[in-house]
Symmetry: C2
Subunit: 199 residues, 2 copies
Amino acid sequence: MKEERRGMLIVISGPSGTGKGTICARMLEEDKSLVFSVSATTRGPREGEKEGVHYFFITEEKYDELLAQDAFLEHATVHGHRYGTLKSQVQKMMDAGYSVVLDIDPQGAKQVMKQQEDCVSIFILPPSYAELRRRLRTRNTDDPVEIERRLGNARGEIEQMEKYRYAVVNDDLDAACAQVRAIIQAEKQRTTRYFPVVE
Amino acid sequence: MKEERRGMLIVISGPSGTGKGTICARMLEEDKSLVFSVSATTRGPREGEKEGVHYFFITEEKYDELLAQDAFLEHATVHGHRYGTLKSQVQKMMDAGYSVVLDIDPQGAKQVMKQQEDCVSIFILPPSYAELRRRLRTRNTDDPVEIERRLGNARGEIEQMEKYRYAVVNDDLDAACAQVRAIIQAEKQRTTRYFPVVE
C-alpha cells in the first residue's frame, strides 16, 4: 500500500492553568510524527539552551527585519523580550512530513488561525472557574491579584471558544489526552493531507 | 460540568467489498450515541421486518409525493424497488442528540454530501484491487463478469475520494475501526456541535 501524508499545523491553546502544556508534552512523547515549533527570540540563551533546538537566538535588528517581511506566524513581547514563530520554520517541518504543534496562549492562537485557516485548532478548557483558580494557586507563586487577573482573562478567552475547530475540557488529564489524540489521529485521515494509492 | 452536544450525520461509503458494513456495525455496537438511519421503501416487508425499525414501508404514490416534496436526503432504485433516506427522519434523530450513520454506496453518498455539506463523510478503501477482487469472490455468489463490473466501478469511485472529508484504508479491520472511531470521537469535539459551559 503506497500512501503519502502531508504534515499539519496543530494549535493547542486555552487559558493559563488549563494544562495545555502537559497535554502537548504527552502528545509529542507518544507520537514521533509530531514536533514542537522552535521560536525565534531576542533574548540571550540561558544555561543549556541550544540554538535551533530551544530557540533561534536573533538580534533586535534581525527581529525587526523579519517583522517587516511578515515572516512570523505569530509574535509577542514577554517581559521586554520578543518571541516569534517563523512561517518558514513551520513550513520546513511540514514539508518534511512532520506535524508541528504550537503550545500557545489565545492571543497567539488568534494570530495563527487568522493566517492559517486550515490549522487544527484545539481549545483546552478547565472544568470550572473554581478548579482553574485552584490550579493557578497550586502551580504559581503569583499573588492573588495576578491570579484574579488570569481568571478574568480566562472568561474572555472561553467566550471565544467557537473560533477554534475543537474544544476539549481538561477535567481528567487522561481523558483530555485521549480526546486530543483522537483529534490528531482523525485529522491525519483528512483527504486534504492523506493520499492512499490503491494499486 | 454542564455541556450540550448536537448530533451529526456520519456518511460511511466506499466501493462494494471494502467492508464498510462491518465497520458501521462495529461502531454502532460500541457507541450508544450512534443510530442507523431507517429508510423508506416501496417494497413490502420481509419476514420479521418491522415498520419504523427496519424500514418505513410506503406506497408508490406516497414515495412519489415525498420525492416531489424534496423530502429525501438520497434515494435509489434497486431491483425495481425504491429506497430513500428521509431528511425529516435524520433530523429527528439528530435533534434528539443522536448521531445518524448512513452506510451507503458512493452514488448515494454523493447526493447526501451535496445536500449536507457539514456531514462527516468517510470513504473506506481496499488495500489493493487484487484484495478487493478476492473479497468480492469470497463473499459473493456473483459471476466473474459482475465482479469485474464492480471492480471497474471501484476504480471510478476511488478517483473521487477527495469529495469525502476522511479516507480510511481497510487492510486490517481492527486498525480501520480504530481510525473511524477516532474520526467520530474527534468530530464530537467540534465547536460547531459541542458546547461545554464553564461555571
